[in-house]
């Protein structure tokens, strides 16, 4: 039976919609593992995904019990929700009931022999430089490369030469699908893709958007995967279409289950407390801004970790802080100094439009040369060690000869990580770091130098510069009142020996540090011509305002400012004062965050918390350098006055926005369709990794192994793990630190403005209607009343406000 290629491709595309893309470790992106189900209501989606992947959709009864005992679920709210479904039993009894209902849910049937063989060849083919001996024939594509080596595979005793296997991919499908009608293909494909959602998710990512050099050199598609898998199934007497592959994914049912009701009550309780807090904050007070010009204004990423440091900076003195997406609105690809690597430095839902390289500043060539010399030495050393380690003849002698040195280094890393941290700092001062002598290429190069080898122009046009600078201030609602120093502060994590480092870096920069983006926006805003254009557009930046870039180290809470020490752009005294205050804020923030990490540290001792964070930043055996975005639960869009002075416990994304400066709603529209959607991706990744760490997370770090430099497996094989490790979510085996709640967005804006935006954006309205995100609006035109969004574009005024101030907001 001839199969038309285009039809086959479409059937595979349809089947693959249920598989979430999986980014490689280098740029591990937060993503909803159930992204393919977002067109379904949440409850139905988790049922369908449960059928397909065997993962649970709601927290365990034990987690609900902990929340109940900690008082995080309001008894009145819970009772009311239960009553709506005719349930009148006591919560304790219901928790017991949920426990009893927890039967062993049947895991989806595993085609274990098939999975084993396939994983072996996938990990060989997709290897990105970890293997000493690469798989042959990879440039011909996965199916062809596998076909060439299959005769040597003991798992296929009946295949003794390649000619026994189908010649082409299409032949392979024709051979195995001949007995099945086209209407059944998708179900068959869904079953086989869902058998290894980690590997298929990675192939989906690589084959679609990635355009990586690895994909160019060694192409693979889901069609390759399916052709190999189905041929293997055929030759290994495994089912092409098992019973369950009749109608996948099965439809869910509408049911008011206990876990669903309990989760809703938990979320409503969190919402109620947060709104009580917000109600007590100053927005009801006079709207006029304070008269004093602040000493400095710092713009941070909306990341929940920024909430902590912002609070502590504001407590130091005349400082103001703002929140903006951490790629600072510049959709760029970044090529760090001295490397050929190009990384995407904008959110996963945005395509880069510009390439930014770093090059030595005009009078900094001497430092660049010094750096290059050390860098070349280090590269040669690494290459030599790798050769000696992997060469059969040299390995034994190398180990004999160098064992003492490496043993000493290992002991130092293990026993005195803090010392190594300080040594690292000292070396940084000795060998110039690239950010001290480079500048980003914000200008378009001369036509002769502007090779566009993948369509991305280097640098930005003047129009683009003005667009990004204006967008930043418009979205934040910040059009006047600029301090003498404004700092755009990206963020990045510091953690050695950690394959999940990028999950701790900036999510708005696709899992990379945000410092380079901050440098670009600061450079644009310092250009006279850009300021002039902004002035014509009503954004009046005084001549004495200087924009700086910095980076917040989220492990240690240290904030480094990228300034040229030899040619300070601001008065030294002002800079020193700022640095001192940032150091004080760091100490306070570190003490607060260390207190949440089960650390045996006497936070009363001067500097103890700081030293503990430094140890975590240098300790190669530390499984939890920091909490990342664990705890995230809300996304607040509004003026800082709304949240100023509140301790939001590092659980809130904070996006600055002023409804008064955005009459047509364009700024809010871009916040809701951009950063809010990314917030939902992050939140759902944390949610599902917490409720089922085996299915949607990545298990304990202790038993993880890196495969092919692309992903993580548990033990020595199996599927690629798709989500976050246990140590990033749980305080111990029993207790999650992350509270698995769906994202609550709170927007300070007129309700009809939000309505208009939702009417224009079906995809966004769908996320709300299907309850992947909750939304409450604080309507300043309706006496600051809170309105809860109800599916189908309707609103309900809040009725559960606290009767009396609860003393929050201190």
């Amino acid at each position: 039976m001839p199969i038309e290629r285009s039809v086959l491709r479409a059937r595979i595309e349809n089947a693959a919609q249920y598989i979430g893309p999986l980014w490689p470790l280098r740029t591990f992106n937060a993503a909803n593992p159930l992204v393919g189900f977002e067109d379904q209501p949440f409850d139905r989606a988790v049922q369908q995904a449960g059928e397909l992947f065997g993962g649970r959709g709601y927290p365990t009864p034990a987690v609900f019990r902990q929340a109940w005992e900690r008082g995080e679920i309001d008894p009145d709210l819970l009772t009311r929700r239960l009553a709506e479904h005719g349930i009148t039993r006591r919560p304790d009894e219901l928790l017991d009931q949920m426990n009893t209902d927890e039967q062993e849910r049947p895991a989806p049937p595993a085609d274990a022999p098939l999975d084993r063989v396939l994983v072996k060849w996938l990990s060989a083919f997709l290897d990105q430089g970890q293997a000493a001996w690469p798989m042959p024939n990879r440039s011909e594509g996965f199916f062809a490369a596998w076909r060439a080596v299959a005769p040597y595979d003991d798992a296929l005793p009946t295949v003794d030469r390649a000619a026994n296997l189908p010649d082409t991919l299409l032949d392979a499908f024709e051979a195995v699908l001949s007995g099945y009608p086209e209407t059944q293909w998708e179900s068959i494909f869904v079953h086989h893709l869902a058998a290894l959602p980690g590997w298929t998710g990675f192939i989906k990512w690589r084959a679609r958007r990635a355009n990586t050099a690895w994909q160019d050199a060694y192409p693979i598609s889901l069609a390759d995967y399916l052709a190999v898998r189905l041929t293997l199934a055929d030759r290994m007497d495994q089912a092409i279409a098992p019973d369950r592959a009749q109608d996948l994914p099965a439809n869910g049912v509408d049911r008011p289950s206990l876990p669903r009701i309990w989760l809703e009550a938990w979320e409503a309780s969190y919402r109620s407390r947060l709104l009580d807090d917000l109600q007590q904050s100053p927005p009801a007070a006079p709207d006029s801004p304070p008269d004093e010009r602040p000493d400095a204004q710092l713009v941070f990423c909306i990341d929940v970790r920024s909430e902590v440091i912002r609070r502590h900076i504001e407590a130091q003195g005349p400082y103001e802080t703002h929140g903006y997406a951490g790629f600072f609105g510049v959709p760029m690809q970044h090529q760090p100094y001295g490397t050929d690597t190009r990384v995407k430095a904008c959110p996963p839902i945005v395509d880069p439009k510009h390439r930014i390289l770093e090059r030595p500043a005009p009078d900094r060539q001497a430092q660049a040369d010094a750096h290059d010399w050390w860098s070349a030495l280090e590269t040669a050393r690494r290459a030599l060690v790798k050769t000696l380690k992997s060469n059969v003849a040299a390995a034994f002698g190398f180990v004999e000869g160098s064992g003492g040195f490496f043993g000493g280094a290992m002991a130092a890393r293990t026993l005195v990580p803090s010392l190594l941290f300080r040594l690292g700092e000292a070396i940084t001062e000795w060998v110039p770091a690239p950010d001290s002598f480079t500048e980003p290429t914000v200008d378009r190069p001369a036509p002769a130098d502007s090779a566009e080898d993948d369509g991305l122009p280097v640098g930005l046009s003047f129009k683009a510069k003005v667009l990004y600078a204006e967008a930043a201030f418009r979205l934040m609602g910040w059009t006047d009142r600029f301090a003498p120093i404004v700092v755009f502060t990206g963020h990045g994590s510091q953690t050695p020996n950690n394959p999940y480092k990028s999950s701790l870096d900036c999510g708005a920069c696709s899992g990379n540090p945000g410092g380079p983006n901050a440098r670009v926006l600061a450079a644009l805003c310092n250009e006279d011509a850009v300021r002039e254009a902004l002035r014509e557009r009503g954004i009046d930046i005084p001549d004495d305002t200087v924009f700086l870039a910095g980076q917040h180290n989220t492990t240690t809470d240290e904030i480094s400012l990228f300034v040229d020490e030899a040619d300070l752009p601001v008065p030294r005294t002002a800079l020193e004062r700022l640095r001192q205050d940032l150091a004080s804020a760091r100490a306070d923030a570190a003490a607060e965050r260390v207190g949440t990490m089960n650390a045996r540290v006497d936070t009363g001792r001067d500097g103890a918390a700081r030293r503990e964070t430094e140890r975590r930043a240098a300790d190669w055996a530390e499984t939890r350098p920091e909490w990342g975005l664990a705890g995230n639960a809300s996304f607040i869009v509004g003026r800082r006055r709304l949240t100023e002075g509140l301790d939001l416990e590092g659980r809130a994304f904070l996006h600055s926005y002023d409804w008064r400066t955005d009459e047509d709603g364009t700024a809010l529209e871009n916040i809701m369709t951009g950063p809010l959607v990314v917030g939902e991706w992050i939140n759902t990744q944390y949610y599902f990794s917490t409720v089922d760490n085996a299915a949607y997370g990545s298990g304990s770090k202790v038993t993880q192994n890196v495969v092919g430099k692309i992903g993580i497996v548990q033990g020595n094989g199996g599927d690629l793990m798709t989500g976050l490790p246990l140590q990033s979510l749980q305080i111990d085996d029993e207790h999650p630190y992350h509270r698995p709640l769906r994202l609550l967005s709170v927007i300070e804006a007129p309700t009809d403005r939000v309505d208009q935006i939702l009417e224009r954006h079906a995809a966004l309205a769908q996320l709300l209607d299907n309850e992947w995100i909750r939304l409450t609006v604080l309507d300043p035109t309706e006496e600051h009343t809170f309105f809860h969004y109800r599916p189908g574009l309707s609103w309900e005024a809040r009725t559960d406000a606290a009767a009396a101030p609860a003393g929050a907001g201190s």
């Binding site: 038309e4 290629r5 285009s6 039809v7 491709r9 479409a10 059937r11 595309e13 349809n14 919609q17 679609r208 958007r209 997406a325 609105g329 959709p331 959110p347 839902i349 945005v350 395509d351 967008a471 529209e669 871009n670 369709t673 951009g674 950063p675 959607v677 009417e759 224009r760 954006h761 079906a762 995809a763 966004l764 309205a765 769908q766």
Partner: protein
């Protein structure tokens, strides 16, 4: 700039061909691109950030920070057989995801520009 080799054809004869217009969500852009690349048509045009209303509601195209949820429009011209291949590849896709395609008669002057040589 005209190609000298076709300048000889001075009578500007119009040749009948088929035109296909396709509108899909941004996330399906790579799929449609691959489909068109593998078909026998010689080229196509893409419009990003398309705005419009469909069965699932309105889609505003001008988004600063979201390239995934916007709409993308393709159009291509080719012979009946190659357009039919594209239609065959899109029909199953539209069973599951939103999008539309329109096929119409069109005419071109420089036929050789639209027929891909094997």
């Amino acid at each position: 700039m005209s190609d000298p080799s076709t300048n000889a054809d001075t009578d500007h004869t119009l040749h009948p061909l088929k035109k296909i217009e396709i509108i899909v969500r941004g996330e399906k852009e790579p799929f449609v691109k691959d489909l068109l690349d593998e078909s026998k048509i010689s080229g196509y045009t893409i419009h990003h950030n398309v705005t419009g209303r469909g069965e699932h509601g309105f889609h505003e195209g001008r988004l600063l920070f979201n390239d995934r949820d916007g709409l993308v429009m393709f159009f291509a011209v080719g012979g009946e057989e190659s357009i039919q291949t594209i239609v065959n590849g899109l029909t199953p896709l539209f069973e599951e995801s939103s999008g539309v395609m329109f096929v119409s008669e069109t005419q071109v002057v420089r036929l050789d520009k639209f027929l891909k040589e094997e």
